[in-house]
């Protein structure tokens, strides 16, 4: 049997491209299908896989309630930090916790810093110029009208970037080292409204299913289409697919609701009280809570 299922052997035994594959080579890849495929892949490998959450790290063993409280406290500490050394210290702490939690450092750093320029970077960029933040010029760009990169501006932008990077890092550590079910349980224990926790849990559960359905729809179309599709036709098909998916999700939500009612749901979500926290969990929580207090005491 041919191990490479993309090619078929010709009569002389050599491998040649199939007509479908040749057509595929000429076509540029369907960007919308690729986007959905990539979203599914990324979610599956990072959020749904929970591989890191199952590793025997220090952070993984902590009770989710303590972890949620500690993470919120650390994010608060990052928001309170007003100097670059404080934020660098907090970011270093995040890196230490990540290493202790067996999170691959390059993956962790890339995950935070790759997206940062697109979101925070765009917001922070104008702050470096003299028209937004006047101050000592580091680099004069234009003399008339005067435009320069200022020291105060760079410091402001750097503060913002560091603050966001540190906050995101603590949030990423929490998500990567905690199983989703435990995280939901932690929120529940912290008296977050049950209806909110239930909806959050179900969103996570069904977003995966609906993404797979969307992927299957694209694959089903791909298997029946040869050659290039016009832009208008493509947009029409995407619009129709979104409609079909909405219909499917509506039907699914109706059936899920019936399944809940069938097992006693009457509009009020209930949950079992989680088990008691251990002394170590209290310690982690206390340490987490102590850090914003230290930051405040030191004046940010």
């Amino acid at each position: 049997m041919n191990s490479d299922n993309r090619t078929l052997p010709s009569q002389d035994g050599s491998f040649r491209l199939t007509p479908l594959e040749m057509a595929g080579q000429r076509r540029r890849r369907d960007w919308f299908a690729k986007t959905i495929e990539d979203i599914t892949g990324t979610l599956e490998s990072t959020v749904f896989a929970e591989e890191i959450a199952h590793l025997p790290g220090i952070w993984q063993g902590v009770d989710p309630r303590a972890k949620v409280v500690a993470a919120i406290a650390l994010i608060l500490a990052a928001s309170l930090g007003r100097t670059i050394p404080t934020l660098i210290a907090l970011y270093t702490l995040a890196l230490v916790i990540a290493v202790a939690g067996h999170i691959p450092l390059d993956f962790f750093v890339k995950r935070v810093w790759l997206f940062l320029p697109f979101f925070t970077g765009i917001i922070a960029l104008p702050a470096i110029f003299s028209i937004v933040t006047p101050g000592r010029a580091l680099l004069v760009i234009v003399q008339q009208p005067y435009l320069a990169v200022t020291e105060q501006g760079v410091r402001t932008a750097l503060l913002l970037l560091l603050r966001v990077a540190t906050s995101v890092s603590f949030a990423v550590i929490l998500i990567l080292t905690t199983r989703w079910a435990s995280l939901v349980g932690g929120l529940r224990a912290l008296r977050v409204p049950q209806a909110f926790v239930l909806i959050l849990g179900m969103t996570y559960r069904y977003i995966f299913l609906l993404l797979h359905t969307a992927n299957d729809m694209f694959l089903a179309r791909k298997s029946r289409v040869v050659g290039r599709i016009k832009g208008a036709e493509e947009r029409l098909w995407i619009g129709n697919s979104i409609g079909v998916l909405l219909g499917k999700s509506y039907h699914l939500s109706d059936q899920v609701y019936l399944a809940m009612v069938s097992r006693g749901f009457r509009g009020e979500a209930k949950a079992l009280q989680p088990l008691r926290m251990q002394p170590m969990d209290w310690l982690w929580m206390a340490v987490g809570l102590l850090i914003p207090i230290i930051v405040l005491t030191l004046g940010g």
Binding site: A181, G201, V256, L258, S262, G264
Partner: protein, 276 residues
């Protein structure tokens, strides 16, 4: 014998022009195994949802445990809880039924929402997981399970309620032969040893003899057209043909090529053909 459900000239429609069941009268006695047999779209699944009081008849009546089901009655919390503790529905698609973050959460959902004490909820979850051999799945996320595992967990989530009546919608659909056999054996034991009433909606003739001692047949026009023992129903080829449960299909016989008259393939379903 006690009658668990009694439908009297029951009809149900999802809306104008969307008739699902028309003029259905039937009885389901306690402790029996009943099959609702019909082609796709004949109204079997809708009937299960009516029996589970998820829908109410648009015409006619449905009596459950000697009480006519009405909207007012179902809004009464005491009645609703008592009813839901006695009747459990296993949906055809486990994706619909497994909506919680983990298998364990899904199994405890029923007992918890029916107001059982926390200790008993935990005991029941452990009990059904042992019964179905799914203890190792407790912490798993439902979407990562295989088809067979999902079916087992869906069943466990209903069994944890300890229902007297178990409504099953196409329980063996999309299961491999071994999983099918083990599920049928399990349900058979549940009925024979614990006297759980089984009502199974199916179009799979191969499981009817094992899953039922009484069969109701639904036509594609949403009417109940026959009832009887599995032997009587499965022996009536004209009935099965008219209900679109079998079809006379063309197939090749090796007997044209071989002298021993063997078939080109085995037939597991019911069919008609002339020996050539």
């Amino acid at each position: 014998m006690n009658i668990v459900f009694k439908a009297d000239h029951l009809s149900f429609s999802y809306g104008p022009g969307q008739l699902a069941l028309e003029d259905v009268s039937l009885e389901i006695p306690q402790g029996r195994k009943v099959a609702l047999l019909g082609a796709n779209g004949s109204g079997k699944s809708t009937l299960l949802k009516l029996l589970d009081a998820l829908y109410l008849p648009t015409a006619g009546s449905l009596i459950a445990f000697d009480v006519p089901l009405t909207q007012a009655l179902l809004e009464d919390e005491a009645f609703a809880f008592a009813f839901r503790r006695r009747v459990g529905l296993v949906f055809q698609d486990p994706e619909v039924q497994l909506f919680s973050p983990t298998v364990w959460d899904d199994i405890v959902f029923g007992p918890l929402h029916l107001g059982l004490p926390a200790v008993e909820v935990r005991e029941r979850a452990a009990e059904v997981m042992t019964l179905l051999g799914i203890e190792k799945l407790a912490d798993r996320v439902p979407h990562r399970l295989s088809g067979g595992e999902k079916k087992k967990v869906a069943l466990a989530s209903v069994l944890a309620i300890h229902p007297e009546v178990l409504l099953l919608d196409e329980p063996t659909a999309s299961l491999d032969p071994r999983s099918q056999a083990s599920l049928i054996d399990f349900l058979y034991t549940l009925n024979s040893e614990q006297n759980v009433t089984l009502v199974t909606a199916t179009h799979d003739l191969a499981i009817v003899s094992e899953m039922a001692d009484w069969v109701y047949v639904f036509a594609e026009d949403h009417h109940l057209i026959a009832q009887g023992t599995p032997a009587q129903i499965l022996g009536d080829h004209d009935l099965l043909l008219s209900a679109n449960l079998i079809h006379a299909h063309a197939h090749r016989h090796l007997s044209r090529l071989q002298t021993d008259g063997t078939h080109a393939h085995e037939h597991l379903g019911v069919h008609e053909h002339e020996r050539s």
